[in-house]
């Protein structure tokens, strides 16, 4: 059994796009021309983003990667995407010799994919709560010591084709702006309320979300 999540509405904040592009307070005020370009690209992106997701909830018994699932009774697996139109446009801009616009649009795609994952994560948690289960922080293959090859498990459990997502031999998802994640579910609330950024061990990541960030 799986559930498709469609009709997702997300709002792209220019500030978040700027943060992902490496803007920090040390950079000073963003130039008017850059602000204008970010706004222009956010507007362009609205017709290029098609967020959707698919998830399933499984018993944790018998699942591979026991270390990740042993503390939970059930595990939700999810794949979500914003579709391929935005990245096609990024490629076109890049080929047309407009790398500035391409870089901004690509960052918008990353923000959109993350917002889509947040939205579906919320749907999963609400669905689980109705059945008396609490959700953990979501975690993804390729992060926090969970190998990228674990992507295979998601594609075995979910009909990713229904949302147009495929996996290549290197365990990379197509379209690129797709996110896969798991959520541990238990009948007691999880104590660890830290965000994925707070848990991640990559200390020198310039995109790390910390308190008081933009």
């Amino acid at each position: 059994m799986f559930k498709l999540v469609k009709g997702i509405r997300i709002k792209i904040e220019c500030k978040e796009v700027a943060r992902l592009l490496g803007h920090s307070p040390e950079c000073g005020e963003i130039k008017k021309s850059s602000k204008k370009l970010i706004r222009e690209m956010v507007k362009t992106s609205s017709g290029l983003i098609e967020p959707e997701g698919v998830f399933t909830i499984k018993s944790s018994r018998g699942l591979k990667a026991k270390c990740l699932f042993e503390s939970s009774e059930k595990v939700a697996f999810c794949i979500c995407t914003i579709g391929k139109r935005l990245e096609n446009e990024v490629r076109k801009l890049s080929e047309r010799g407009e790398p500035g616009k391409a870089v901004i649009l690509d960052a918008i795609g990353s923000v959109a994919a993350e917002l889509t994952a947040e939205y579906v994560d919320q749907v999963i948690k609400e669905t689980a709560l109705k059945k008396g289960f609490y959700g953990s922080t979501r975690f993804s293959p390729g992060y926090g010591g969970w190998g990228l090859e674990m992507q295979k498990l998601f594609f075995e459990l979910l009909p990713a084709k229904r949302i147009g997502v495929s996996l290549n031999e290197s365990f990379m998802m197509k379209p690129r702006k797709s996110v896969s994640f798991a959520v541990n579910l238990n009948n007691k609330p999880f104590r660890d309320k830290r965000t994925p950024c707070e848990i991640c061990g990559f200390k020198r990541c310039r995109f790390k979300k910390v308190n008081n960030s933009v």
Binding site: I30, K31, I38, G100, A102, V103, I104, F171
Partner: protein, 223 residues
């Protein structure tokens, strides 16, 4: 250097800092009309501007799109000045050639495209092979174009292994000693470059520029 030229180069430099492509077009045309040495305008005006942006970006006081727009401005200016360079053989100077691409299995494009943009904005001739490039293609294109550098990008731990095949291919065809190989991308490191027998690890677009300039001696010529 005459006062007018000095002022002109300063104006060109500031145009890059502002990322103003239209102004770069106007200034490049003015340079040609005034008979200024196009290489001087490129080196002391345009490239100096993008180098300053690169420095600011590394310090964290410049924002990525501003760096990229600056690079675009340089490329726009160079494209106009180059027409004159190509016409006049007396001022021709061969620019170091670089081949760049993302390794097989990996379709990440943006990081590689940024490095390619910064390299060409700094005066290199860049041949971009795109993404998901097989090791054989890297070798074949190296054989065909005989570049000074080969830059390989990988954003995944699963695909970076394919970079080994490129090095092996270059060895088998006797090309390895003739070019310098640089690897880059999130999972790469100095240790990784050493482990697979690459010459350099480029941490980001600016360090890639710095390494290629230093190794090709272009840094001294370009100022």
């Amino acid at each position: 250097m005459e006062k007018n030229l000095k002022l002109f180069l300063e104006k060109t430099y500031n145009t890059v800092l502002e990322g103003n492509k239209e102004e770069a077009v106007r200034l490049a045309r003015e340079a040609l009309r005034s008979g200024y040495d196009p290489y001087l305008v490129i080196d002391k005006g345009l490239v100096r501007g993008v180098q300053e942006l690169g420095k600011l970006w590394e310090e964290g006081s410049c924002f990525l799109p501003e760096l990229v727009l600056g690079a675009e401005t340089v490329k726009t200016g160079i494209s106009i000045l180059q027409k004159r360079i190509l016409k006049d053989k007396s001022i021709k100077r061969s620019l170091p050639k670089i081949i760049i691409g993302t390794i097989e299995g990996d379709i990440h494009d943006i990081g590689k495209m940024l490095v390619a943009t910064m390299l060409s904005a700094n005066g290199f001739e860049v041949i971009d092979l795109g993404v998901d490039v097989k090791a054989e293609v890297f070798v074949k294109m190296t054989e065909k174009h005989r570049p000074r550098f080969l830059c390989i990008s990988s954003l995944l731990t699963t695909t970076m292994q394919n970079e080994v095949k490129v090095i092996e291919g270059l060895r088998k065809t006797g090309l390895r000693g003739k070019i310098k190989v640089m690897v880059g991308g999130a999972p790469a490191s100095q240790e990784w470059a050493k482990e697979i027998g690459a010459d350099f690890y480029g941490e980001n677009a600016i360090s890639a520029v710095r390494i290629t300039q230093k190794e090709s001696g272009y840094e001294k010529k370009g100022g």
